[in-house]
């Protein structure tokens, strides 16, 4: 993991002092709420329906056990004993007091964490594949590059007041688990014929009112030129992105308006004029950062373990856990374990302080003290020895963390919705809970197989409904909460936009409609076909007929 040096420490500590000063000026009345608003927003502090909400960055979704324990402590000390892991690999606290926030930041700085640029019209936390550095299918671990981008984008003097927020995601593997095509900039690590590392650069992806899948503007930018090229993209966007209408201000609108070829030309031209400036870092700096992410020394172990096989044969739930939550690691005999934060009836992405502490302890015992957070709002223990799985599973299930539903229909992404969010039209959490209740049988879940349900409480799409195999969008119809049903989206390398099936439903109707959709799939699927494959083969009509005929 990356560790701060004195420069990093100084920058983050200075930020804490600066924010304390800003909060004091607000509390003393020197700053009005209107003047304070942009300042707190630069630091992830939102005013929600009931209270302030603080969003803390988990850079590229990597945490140490020490950091996880600190997140638990903050939940206990300043909040109501829980935190909410988000789709952007951040954690949100829903109940902090304004006067406490500088101390929270100090507690975070102590373990090399911060809330810098977790909101505001600036470059946000860079996100990546939760299995980075631990999966066989990657070309290179993307986290050193994410750290490089984190540093370059932190307090950037030119790009801190962009037309709108700006999100960058990077993947090191061809299997895209970071939804890079749905980001303002998506980076895919590539290797050229000479064996050098570089990046395919995609721009202009995004959700919201106008969902757009990012387009490639460069097939390969060499590693050494990454930051300079990003700087050129940001400069063109900062100058030409629309500022007259908040809903047209994202880079996707600019790229659509200019055409991606013209946009690519503008970027190329700007990059050529600046590429010899020291925006890019010395090679030694890339090496320095890479060293923090060196693969851990793992012993090669046998792929099969008799104790694991025996438990799987006798314990049906463990068998399901093995199948759904456990993925191969690049080192034989090791695995990556996803801890589902989607217990049926729970709030997707929430964890209590006790659960966070437990995960930290388990990480120390089984995963070299490392934890990951996925954009699907789950936690991952990487580098686990396969033979430790029975013990680990036992500890998890004792604490309500053993739900074996990863990738299945109840592993739902849901935004906070009307229960917390001031912008919401409808509740998201109860819909997720009702769906999980409806599909509360693990045999049935497994029979349905991979099915990604994503729920947003308004068109801002924080719940990624555009990218859901099944997407649900809450809208307001004359004061009533109405839910639209969308089908066929994907956030993976085969990214696609989900399409609205027809008129919306009420709270109960939407659950019935999802059940009907699943029934159509089960009736139509051919051998081994996943939901999305069946949908793509047969199209929306059979689903539409079944869902709306019944009404």
């Amino acid at each position: 993991m990356y560790a701060y040096d004195p420069y990093d420490k100084e920058i983050v500590n200075t930020r804490v002092e600066e924010f304390r000063d800003q909060v004091n000026r607000r509390l003393s009345g020197e700053l009005t709420e209107e003047e304070f608003r942009p300042l707190r927003l630069m630091n992830g502090l939102y005013l929600q329906l009931h209270a302030y909400m603080l969003r803390v960055a988990i850079p590229y979704g990597t945490l140490s056990s020490v950091q996880m324990r600190r997140l638990a402590l903050i939940a206990r000390k300043y909040d109501k004993g829980y935190g909410h892991f988000t789709t952007r690999q951040n954690i949100q606290y829903n109940w902090p007091k304004l006067v406490d926030t500088p101390d929270i930041l100090l507690d975070l700085a102590d373990v090399e964490m911060h809330a810098i640029q977790t909101s505001g019209n600036c470059i946000r936390n860079v996100t990546t594949d939760q299995f980075s550095g631990a999966t066989a299918d990657e070309i290179a671990d993307p986290r050193p590059y994410a750290e490089l981008i984190r540093q370059w984008s932190t307090f950037h003097p030119e790009f801190s007041f962009l037309p709108r927020k700006f999100k960058i995601a990077i993947t090191g593997a061809p299997s895209d688990r970071a939804a890079v095509k749905w980001h303002d900039i998506g980076l895919v690590v590539r290797k050229n014929d000479a064996g050098d590392i570089g990046f395919e650069v995609l721009v202009g992806g995004g959700m919201g009112r106008t969902p757009v899948i990012a387009k490639t503007i460069r097939d390969f930018i060499p590693e050494a030129d990454l930051l300079g090229y990003l700087e050129a993209i940001l400069r063109v966007y900062n100058e030409q992105g629309r500022r007259d209408n908040k809903y047209k201000a994202r880079i996707k609108i600019l790229v659509e308006a200019l055409g991606s070829d013209t946009f690519a030309d503008l970027v190329e031209k700007e990059w050529q004029t600046t590429r010899h400036h020291p925006i890019d870092v010395p090679e030694a700096e890339i090496k320095r950062i890479e060293a923090f992410f060196a693969p851990p020394p793992l012993e090669v172990l046998p792929e099969q373990d008799p104790a694991v096989d025996e438990l799987a044969a006798n314990n049906f739930l463990f068998h399901a856990f093995l199948k759904n939550n456990v993925r191969p690691h690049k080192v034989p005999g090791h695995v990556n374990v996803t801890i589902s934060l989607k217990p049926h009836g729970g709030i997707p992405g929430d964890a209590t302080d006790a659960q966070m502490d437990l995960v930290a302890d388990l990480a120390d015992t089984y995963s070299l003290g490392e934890i990951r957070v996925s954009h699907e709002q789950n936690l991952i223990l990487p580098h686990v020895a396969r033979r430790d799985l029975p013990e680990l599973y036992e500890a998890l299930s004792r604490s309500g963390l053993g739900t074996a539903n990863v990738g299945l229909i109840s592993d739902i992404i849901a935004c906070p919705g009307l229960d917390y969010c001031a912008l919401a039209n409808a509740r998201s959490i109860p819909i997720a809970q009702n769906l999980a209740k409806r599909f509360d049988d693990i045999t049935r879940l497994q029979d349905i197989g991979e099915l990604k349900v994503k729920i947003s409480g308004c068109i801002n799409s924080c719940g990624h409904h555009h990218a859901g195999h099944i997407g649900i969008l809450g809208v307001d119809r004359k004061g009533e909460e109405v839910y639209q049903l969308l089908l066929g989206g994907s956030g993976a390398e085969d990214a696609s936009k989900a399409q609205i099936l027809g008129p919306g439903f009420d709270e109960n109707g939407i659950v019935d409609a999802v059940e009907t959709v699943v029934a159509v799939y089960l009736g139509e699927r051919q051998d081994g076909e996943k939901f999305l494959e069946t949908y793509r083969r047969i199209g929306a009509d059979p689903f539409k007929e079944a869902v709306y005929e019944a009404h």
């Binding site: 370059w152 950037h156 790009f159 801190s160 900062n238 010395p282």
Partner: protein
């Protein structure tokens, strides 16, 4: 109204001509042998600017209609890097003290602000002493300083 000096250079007091309203009048200035200043706004496209007009100006003020209009920062960077502008660069409009270092590092020398905000501006201008970006005012990114004196010499061109 108070003028804050961010860089410590001697500030200019030449008269300013609004460029956007009359590019021709501004252009005429360049032909005369007297010092002159220009007012640009965040709406000004750098591609409309004449390099000679910019390079020979004593003072350029960039007017921000709102503090969140970040185009002013890129325009400042353009003037420094693409137009070799070495005169005084001034920010006007409702910029806020918490932007002092961003302004400074994007190439501004001075800011006009309300009297009430002057002290906060001065304080904020020196807050951070380490930076993650090499900028156009001579600050070197820690990514370079970390790797020794030869790297420290590398300045933005």
């Amino acid at each position: 109204m108070k003028r804050i000096n961010l860089t410590g250079r001697a500030l200019s007091d030449v008269a300013l001509t609004v460029f956007d309203q009359s590019p021709e009048a501004a252009q005429e200035l360049a032909g005369k042998n007297a010092p002159y200043g220009l007012i640009l706004t965040t709406e000004t496209a750098y591609s409309d600017l004449d390099p000679e007009l910019i390079e020979k100006a004593d003072l350029i003020a960039i007017d921000f209609p709102a503090f969140g209009d970040g185009r002013g920062f890129s325009l400042a960077v353009r003037l420094r890097k693409d137009f070799n502008f070495t005169g005084e660069l001034r920010a006007t409009g409702p910029v806020i003290p918490d932007q002092a270092q961003f302004l400074l590092r994007a190439g501004f020398d001075s800011v006009d602000t309300d009297d009430a905000r002057a002290a906060a501006f001065q304080k904020a201008a020196g807050r951070f002493t380490a930076f993650y970006q090499t900028d156009y005012t001579g600050n070197t990114s820690v990514a370079h300083t970390r790797h020794g004196p030869s790297q420290r010499e590398r300045k933005a061109s």
